[in-house]
Amino acid sequence: MPFACIFVPNFPVAAIFRAEPELRAHAVAIFEGRPPLEKVFAVNENASRVGISPGMTKAQAELCSELTLRPRSPLQESATHAALLDCAQSFSPCVEEAAADTAILDLAGMESLFGTLPEIARNLFRCSADLGIDGNVAVASNPDAAVLAARGFSGVTLIPYGKETECLGPLPVEVLFADQAGSASKGGSHKKDKEKISGLRKENEFLETLDRWGVRNLQALAALPEIALSERLGQEGLRLQQLARGAASRTLVPIQAPAVFEEAIELEFPIVLLEPLAFLLNRLLDQICARLSARALHTQELRLTLELQNLAGINPELETFGIPSESDEAADLQSRAQHFVSGRQSKFCRTLRLPLPMLDPKLFLKLLQLDLNAHPPGAPIIKIHLIAEPARPRSAQGGLFLPPSPEPEKLELTLARIAGLVGEFRVGSLELLDTHSPESFRMRHFVAKTAPPDKLRKTSEPAEEEKSPVAALRMFRPPLRASVTLENGEPLRVNCSKKKEVQGNVLWKAGPWRSSGDWWERKAWARDEWDIALQNRDEVALYRLVHDLLGGGWFVEGTYD
């Protein structure tokens, strides 16, 4: 049964490189610890060349002018680890999380899906590179041999069945203990730390012993006589020899990786402008979309949280952005924001809800940009956190005889741009409310849903074409206040100062049509409606005249057109 392993060498540095790819060409050192006792924890190859090594103090490292120092970021490391698992799970459902930097896959039966083993190995390598991870990939007949090969050889390694000993032979014996060394550096509880430290001591003893015997590589260890080895090093020695021969066999412990897609960047200096923020958002969105794509998922909701620098002028109380009124409308809106304080730093949240699952980082970036332009954070940003809620990709079957409809992605962007121009709540589709009150409608987010063909047949009624068109009313928003001359309670002359053409003698009138409602609420309404014809010069126009019975004014509400 073939197994594959993806190993990310120098994991803390790789996590930083994933977040900031432009640092790959620089000398980079990662430090951790409490100030002023910060120590260099990991370095890349360029930093090693200029003499920086783990264990140096931050002050010593800072003496090197070429060096770029970054604090260790657990958030970015966990995101990189999640990306690693996403990469593995895109090839096999049976994935073991061997360590933070190592994932093992069971490739049994995958050849029929993804091609031959060399092809799978190459594609795994490519997929990890697409996710921003510089990993080594190895394929072998057992998981431990694959892990050793991935840790020992860079790039893609394929170990044929039965040749494990030969292939792993040149690797140094230290590779056998790389797992414990790596996990010891991750930190944890006090008890676990003690266990790890004792494990490290034991490993050092093993290494010293092997060194004294002149055993430098796995080939030499594999060649030792088993009985003599067990007499001197016990069962652990035999286990190590089995590993060195590539003959150890075990079953994988598969995990179900949670479908959590989040990325974050902690900034060294606060961002004030939206343009540099867009660059960082672009990077985060690319990473999240690549991860979603690897799991064959799309997203329907993006949550952006910006941690803001605590400035003196910011109101520390909870604040919700959005339109001040029309709470029903606000419930359906695409995005919403919260601005709240946690501890000493305030957070600014925006949620982007999409009508359909989508996976286009450029579209998401544009939508977030438009949203942030309309609702700026209001303070310098020191941390960006982006979460995508996964959703199954939409399956749309286009019909040959269906009329064209707007592309959902394009339409979403167009609607966001229009909302930026005319206002968030002034674009969308209509929904009538079940009331007779004036302006009884609300705006909903417009979604271009294509109807199935069977529905199409039901709704197209040829009889509709035969009917007379319905006379339409053009509304005046807000209604025009008018002075009305009455005769026996009926309008005789209308004069509207704000619109010159709406004045003259009433030629014809019909009404009044009385209506009222919501008397139990503050916004009660009661009105008399008249349909009137006014003659202005040579033209005759029809208007709807409204008498507000509660307020006592006359208004021209619209014209029949």
């Binding site: 509709e464 068109p469 053009r474 014809a533």
Partner: protein, 327 residues
């Protein structure tokens, strides 16, 4: 040295006069043999250009005479939702700009909503860019528009603010006067928004009908739209299945519109008094207040149409629209 490359099989010896000079015409149309014949690509030769005259001939050869320019295919016509209108114009042309102009209460909105309703019945998506925020949702629903397929863009932010303020301040009178309906300053802002929104919608594509409602903008503001903008709109909808409809008081798009309809002033029909209402007459029509407005008689005139090749003429028709409550 200049030369022209023409297919040999297409060259024909025809001459036509050009600025008093007899110029050899080279036909660039492929022959029947090329189109349907042996399946081989047409042979091409480089014509010699030894003399000056021949060089002129060759240059002119690339200019096709107007008589042989390809005729633009007639646009697909779709129903406007009103049978009388369809009989008059053949419907609304796809991929073209159609202007509907007329004064207030001339039936422009009725026509607009009928066209939108017909488009939504065809399962198309429609958009209305409303410069003055004048759409009545109840009228839209009564016209038979499928509201899910109808995108409404309300330009001009001020009117909404004014309405909110009116509600909040419990009908304070001066609010209506402070924020009057589409004043000139607001009209310009609305117009700018309308043009930008129209650009975005045309760029987005996929809509069967896009309506630009300029009906309540002052004519002097509407006339500020440069002709190049209308050309851009026309080019944007060309070769697409989108119908671009503009509602105005006066025609402003000039030659960019393929169909220009002018609506006349309406006549009213009143329940119980129909004989008297054949013509709007102040002395004759003075019904009691309990009478209902049941129908409006709308007069349509085709001022310009590029769909038919006949000389421009004005033809008209009349149809009635019923009110929503007339059943």
């Amino acid at each position: 040295m200049s030369s022209a490359v023409v297919p040999t099989s297409a060259a024909q010896d025809r001459h036509f006069a050009f600025d008093g000079e007899d110029v050899a015409e080279v036909c660039l149309q492929p022959s029947r043999a090329e189109l349907f014949g042996n399946g081989r690509p047409p042979q091409r030769v480089i014509l010699p250009s030894s003399s000056e005259a021949f060089s002129t001939d060759a240059r002119l050869a690339s200019v096709a005479p107007a008589s042989r320019l390809a005729v633009r295919p007639a646009p697909e016509m779709v129903s406007s939702g009103i049978a009388a209108m369809d009989a008059l114009t053949g419907g609304l042309p796809r991929g073209c700009l159609t202007e509907i102009c007329g004064p207030a209460s001339s039936g422009r909105t009725t026509l607009l909503l009928s066209a939108v309703a017909a488009a939504t019945r065809r399962r198309e998506f429609c958009a209305l860019v409303d410069a003055s925020d004048t759409l009545d949702p109840q009228s839209a629903a009564a016209a038979g528009i499928e509201l899910e397929r109808f995108l409404w863009v309300r330009c001009g932010e001020h009117s909404d603010h004014a309405r909110h303020r009116h509600a909040e301040h419990d009908r304070v009178e001066h609010d209506y006067f402070e924020h009057g309906y589409v004043e000139n300053g607001h009209a310009e802002q609305s117009l700018e928004q309308l043009l930008r929104v129209a650009d975005l919608l045309l760029e987005s594509g996929g809509f069967g009908l896009i309506v630009l409602d300029l009906g309540d903008l002052p004519p002097q503001t509407a006339r500020r739209i440069p002709l190049t903008t209308w050309f851009r709109f026309r080019r944007a909808v060309e070769h697409t299945p989108t119908i671009l409809l503009a509602i105005e008081r006066q025609s402003i798009a000039g030659s960019c519109s393929s169909l220009l309809l002018k609506l006349g002033s309406i006549k009213m029909g009143l329940a119980g008094n129909r004989a008297c209402n054949q013509r709007m007459d102040l002395q004759c029509v003075m019904p009691t207040h309990m009478q209902l407005l049941t129908e409006l008689e709308i007069t349509v005139e085709v001022v310009r149409s590029r769909m038919d090749r006949k000389p421009v003429r004005s033809v008209g028709t009349t149809f009635s629209s019923k009110t929503a409550w007339a059943g």
